[in-house]
Symmetry: C2
Subunit: 247 residues, 2 copies
């Protein structure tokens, strides 16, 4: 939540290059400009960097498991991560995908509410809980920024619920592709969408089977709405997709 009306805290940053010189682990993160760090001034940022550990995860490597004690927080700097929960019988719901610039650990308490795995080689800045906690407690800016992020996360969850509860398979796929595109090309609207996740991941995210995902994609391709290449999709008729995928 963002308790004052000025949501645009992001302004007032100096050039991103200005922070390159700090001699810490988490240096040269290319995404710092879009991360939580942008809530901070230069010296505060240096403080944050001083407690950051650069971490690397391989494909399929577990970042944390549901039920684990939440001992650290992560700011993803490259790659992609899937968040999920399992039923006892093996069914899996993918709760979301997180990429460069996203923060892991916003969600409350002492225990992780879900598991996280890298779906491709991923780098992140890790913050130990005690250090991060005490930093946050002393920096209202940062707390507010995190709170704002948490609010955005609820918004994402709501979008997801709309898709799962009300949309057809076609519509879900369209929505999924469009929201991926939006995240990947923040500014431009380039028409090539990278799909770092498998069909199974997409299915478990959208509440569909892998077969339905595949079928729906090839159908859209037959209709010249998209074209499919391994691990990417190219948008051919964005308007038509939007007609399906927008509320």
């Amino acid at each position: 939540m963002n308790f004052d009306s000025s949501a645009a805290h992001n302004a007032g940053d100096g050039s991103p290059l200005a922070y390159r010189k700090a001699g810490v682990d988490c240096d040269n993160c290319p995404v710092r400009a879009v991360s939580i760090c942008c809530a901070l001034g230069p010296d505060e940022r240096r403080q944050l960097e001083s407690i950051a550990h650069r971490t690397v995860f391989n494909t399929k490597e577990t970042i944390f498991l549901e039920g684990d004690r939440s001992g650290s927080f992560f700011n993803i700097t490259s790659g992609a991560v899937r968040l999920f929960r399992l039923f006892r019988d093996g069914r899996r719901q993918v709760l979301g995908f997180r990429m460069a610039g996203d923060f892991l650990g916003l969600d409350m308490g002492d225990q992780r509410g879900f598991s996280a795995e890298a779906i491709e080689p991923t780098t992140a800045c890790r913050f130990g809980r005690p250090q991060f906690t005490s930093l946050v407690e002393s920096k209202p800016h940062l707390l507010r920024k995190l709170h704002e992020r948490t609010g955005q996360e609820i918004g994402l969850a709501h979008d997801h619920m709309m898709a799962l509860g009300q949309r057809s398979a076609r519509e879900r796929i369209a929505w999924f592709l469009l929201s991926l595109r939006e995240r990947q090309n923040k500014a431009s609207s380039a028409d090539v969408i990278r799909l770092p996740m498998s069909r199974q991941d997409i299915g478990d995210f959208l509440g569909l089977t892998i077969e339905t995902v595949s079928r729906t994609l090839t159908l859209l391709a037959r209709e010249n709405v998209i074209s499919i290449t391994p691990r990417t999709v190219r948008l051919r008729d964005a308007r038509r997709l939007a007609k399906l995928g927008t509320s």
Copy 2:
């Protein structure tokens, strides 16, 4: 999020009766003990009460609409509320139900991300945004409590997504009934569950049609798992229901 390990802030409250004497609008709220207010000491609480306006909503009355400017926050003191979003074509997803003790307005920014309507006569404490904001900014306890609540809300959303994405109609209904029971009888496990919402609301919450909801309920009744009376359900075989509704 709860940045320190001591989640149990709720302790250390004096007797709930101690706060009855303050001569303000939002007096004698029976649920104050479970509300955000319990993050505060007596004097802080009095401060909070001094900016609260007791508000009443009739059945079907709109509390706020998606897209509205978020001009206030609510702490529900009795009754029940549905939160929902609409598609352009009229489809509706109910995002959740909120009852006594729940807080409305946790979700971020300047604009409401969804609509809220009373589903039965409802009372709430309303807080104007400016007053509430400035109070929160000066009370780290309160901010932390709100943050914690927001985290819980994400947890609820995840449970909901599990249900929508992975469960059958039967399982969704079972989960729904069980989670309602849990909320209503925090302590005891009385077996009578009140359903203030209509079948349509339940359907739109669970991503099912009204007919499927009805059929599934009557089926469970035929199997002596529950028995149905207007606006209530009685649990006859909680164990069997739990087998369906638990992850």
